[in-house]
Each structure stands twice: as C-alpha cells, then as structure tokens.
C-alpha cells in the first residue's frame, strides 16, 4: 500500500492504495467518478480520458502513483454551479451522444482541445479527437458539437 495525494475536480484527496492500481481504478473504484469509462485498457479508445494537469491522458495508461500530486478533471468536474460546460451543452444540442459510453472521453478531449484552440477547422477537430473511438455516431455530430462549443465560448 502506498499513499498518494490527488486533486480531483477541485477537491483534495489523500488515499491509501495498492501500488499496482491505475489512475482509472482510483478514480472509478476509490473515488467513484464512474463517468470515467474503460473500453479497451490499452489506450486505444480514449473512453477513460481525463485532464491531468491541463493535459489529456488515458487514465488506463497512467499508474496512480504517477499521478501523485496532480490535478485531475473528469467529466463530473465540468459542471460548475449546476451549469453545464459549453462542450456538454453542445453535445446535447447537436446530438453528439448515442450510446453515451465514449461520450465522457470525447467531452474531455474536446475540452482540452478547446482550451488551446484558435478558430479550429473541422480537420483540426477531427485530429484532436482521433485518439477517441466511437462506434455509434460516425463522429460527424461530435465534430459539429465541438465547433458549436467553440462558438458558444467565443460568443459567436
């Protein structure tokens, strides 16, 4: 057992965990942020994407000890004072979710992308989400939603 400290969605946690736990296990099992999904366990599908210290990571590929001391944002942490994040709003508005399993991962990837993006093209958006797999939507409405979220944020 090992002690780690994490800030998740703005709250500090100190945890006793088994050393071989991955970040996804800590988030889902210890802290019950079950919006973090596991689809492949090898970093291919991106369903487990979270933002770690400002960067998008596959939480199935990060060992919990590696995350010690870092700040994590999961999909649950995007809702602020009951207000949805513009990305979440746009996903609803544009019909970008179907079965929903990949959705939290896409929303986190989009959030991380939009934090830095400037007038993104559809091609750039496609590239930004190319580490996330979706089997239902064929991606087009997800791209629509990310464009829309950018417009919300720029007030255009």
């Amino acid at each position: 057992m090992i002690n780690i400290k994490l800030n998740v969605n703005g709250k500090d946690y100190s945890l006793e965990i088994e050393e071989d736990k991955r970040l996804i296990d800590v988030l889902r099992e210890d802290l019950r942020f079950t919006g973090v999904k596991e689809g492949c366990s090898e970093g291919e599908c991106g369903a487990c994407s979270v933002i770690m210290d400002g960067r998008i990571v596959n939480s199935c590929l990060v060992m919990a000890v590696q995350a010690n001391g870092s700040s994590i944002v999961t999909v649950e942490g995007l809702v602020k004072d009951g207000e949805l994040d513009p990305v979440q709003r746009a996903f609803i508005e544009k019909g970008a979710t179907q079965c929903g399993y990949c959705t939290p991962g896409f929303i986190m990837a989009a959030r991380a992308f939009l934090n830095r993006a400037k007038d993104p093209t559809r091609e750039e958006i496609r590239e930004a989400i190319s580490g996330n797999l979706c089997r239902c939507t064929g991606y087009n409405k997800i791209v629509d939603a990310i464009e829309e979220a950018y417009r919300y944020e720029k007030g255009i």
Partner: protein, 330 residues
C-alpha cells in the same frame, strides 16, 4: 498512381423477426399523481434513440408536450415485454404499441372526465394539451392534474399491444410475406485509390434513407452517420484475423474500427413516405443505414481501377495486389 472513381449501392431491408414468428410489442400507459403520464415498455435503449422516439410518439398520441411523458424501460418487474431491440423493430413495433396504448388511455381519461364534468357521454370529448375538453362547448374542460387528483389513489392505466404482419415462408419455394415494412436506402461515393499502396480515400459520400417519417430527424441523421462509418470499417479494414478458430485480432490496437480521421463528411438525405401501418408513418432505420455503403465503395473501386474486388475486407495489400495482377493480365 492515383485513380478516381464513383459508385452507387441500393438496398432494401425487411423489418422484424420474420417468417411468421409472433413479433409482438406491449406497452402500458399510466396517469401519474402530478398529471404527468408514465409510459412503460421493455424496449431497450442501446444508443439508437429508442427512448426519445418512444417519448415523442407517446407525447404526440396523448397531445402533451414531450416533457410530460415519463418513460420507463429498464426493469422487467415494471415493464411489459416489448420484444428485442433488434431487427430495426422498436420504432415500428413498440412505437405502434405505445400509440395504441395511448389511444386506449385517452378513452379511459374521457370516461373519468365525463364524470368530473357531469356529462352523460364521452362523445365529442377531446384530449389535447394536457386537458380533456368538450369540443362543442370548450368551457367544459378538466386538466390531467385535476383528473389525477380526482382519482386519488386509484390507478388509471391502459395497455397496448401490436403484432407485426409476417407469414411463414413455404419451405420448398420460399414464397410468402416474411417481413413488413421494407425500408430502402441508396449510397454514392467518390473515392481515390492509390494503385501502388492500395490505399482508398473517400472524397465524397452521400447517403439517402427512406424513413417513412422521421420521428426525430437529428436522430435519423445520427444513425446515418453511424451506419456509414460502420460500413466503412466493414469494407476497408475490420479484420478478426481468424485462423483455425482463433481470433488473432481481439483488441482495439489490432482490430481497427474507423476513427474520426477515417470517416469523411457525409451528405445525409432523408426521404419521407409515411407508412400506413407505422406509428405516424415511421419505419425503422437502424440497420438499413449501413447496408448500401459497402457495395457503393466496391463499385467505385471498380470504376476507378477496373478491378472487381470480390472479397472483403478491401485491405490495401489486397487491393494493391489485385491491381498489379490486373495490370499484368492486361
């Protein structure tokens, strides 16, 4: 060398279990305490949007805004059997069951309204916008909330059941009417083939889908995008690498499904031709949206290269080899 081509594919798809198998959906509708309406069906939401379509069909039938309908689909304890969420049958079958249940429910509402309004008949009573009222004297009206209050603890509920038409096929000749309704689709693609590497790039794609009537056009488009993407994977790269019963590829690092970089923009055209046996004319489209895409790609590859690919998947290696064989043979 890069070669361009275009191809089309048409398809049809018969809805339902088929072959005379009883294809039944059931629905229950109940007045809730606050005047909202509970709809209970066993039809699964698997991402296709069944819940939303069910709510829209129920709201339309009951004449209420969609947020007055509370749908429950999860628990076998509290929902009736609505058949499988497969065979493109939920919107058509369970949609019909819901519509029938709602119509039965409205008759029951009218019976109660008749008592509340001191009428001696339910004739000319109409259920609309969350109220029951007398069409010929609209001052006589009562809201669903009031009806729920009036009933107190008594439950007002109705059932609906729909069985699709299907006949058993003759075992020797295959004659009969196995499925109904049929749904039609058309796809066209323009693509570029690199004849050296065998790489296929889709340049333009159009999918046209007959829907009967679109219950929710955005959801229909979502299905079309998804079916197109799934067909792209089927045609071009998904491969289990199956050898003597062993799947060599059973992880996403090896079994490649399309990514956002593989799927191109898709022009989606919805064709409406309401089906008389369907709820508000709506046919199912979950499966049909995938079907014409693969043949359109195959035909476009032939148009581009003169090579007819008869075996899936059209991997780059396979296509490059087929083209080089074709060139050698002249």
């Amino acid at each position: 060398m890069k070669k361009r081509g275009r191809g089309i594919g048409l398809s049809f798809y018969g809805t339902g279990y088929g072959n005379g198998f009883p294809d039944v959906s059931n629905a229950w509708v109940r007045l809730l305490k606050d005047g909202k309406i509970g709809v209970y069906v066993g039809g699964a939401e698997v991402g296709q949007g069944a819940m939303t379509a069910f709510v829209q069909i129920a709201a339309e039938a009951l004449g209420v805004p969609h947020d007055r309908v509370l749908l429950e689909i999860e628990d076998t304890l509290t929902t009736p059997d609505s058949g499988t969420a497969a065979a493109t049958r939920q919107t058509y079958n369970t949609g019909n069951a819901i519509k029938i249940a709602c119509e039965n429910f409205k008759e029951k509402l009218k019976e109660v309204a008749k008592d509340i309004l001191n009428l001696n008949s339910t004739a000319a009573l109409e259920v609309k916008d969350g109220e029951v009222y007398l069409e010929i004297f609209p001052q006589k009206r009562v809201s669903l909330e009031k009806i729920a209050d009036f009933l107190g603890g008594n439950i007002l509920e109705a059932e609906g059941s729909f069985t699709a038409q299907t006949t058993k096929l003759d075992p020797e000749t295959g004659q009969g009417a196995p499925y109904w309704p049929y749904t039609f689709s058309a796809c066209g693609v323009e693509l570029e083939v690199d004849t050296i590497t065998g790489q296929v790039d889709i340049l333009k794609a159009v999918l046209v889908q007959d829907v009967g009537r679109a219950v929710n056009p955005h959801l229909v488009e979502g299905q079309m995008d998804g079916g197109y993407a799934m067909a792209l994977g089927y045609a071009l790269f998904e491969d289990l690498n199956l050898k003597r019963g062993v799947m060599g590829n059973r992880k996403f690092s090896k079994y490649l499904i399309p990514t956002s970089m593989d799927v191109t923009e898709l022009t989606k055209i919805i064709v409406e031709d309401p089906e008389s046996t369907a709820p508000y004319g709506a046919k199912g489209i979950g499966e049909p949206v995938m079907i014409p895409v693969t043949p359109a790609i195959l035909n476009a590859i032939y148009d581009a290269t003169g090579v007819r690919i008869t075996e899936l998947p059209i991997t780059p290696e396979k296509l490059a080899k087929a083209f080089s064989d074709f060139e050698k043979e002249g």
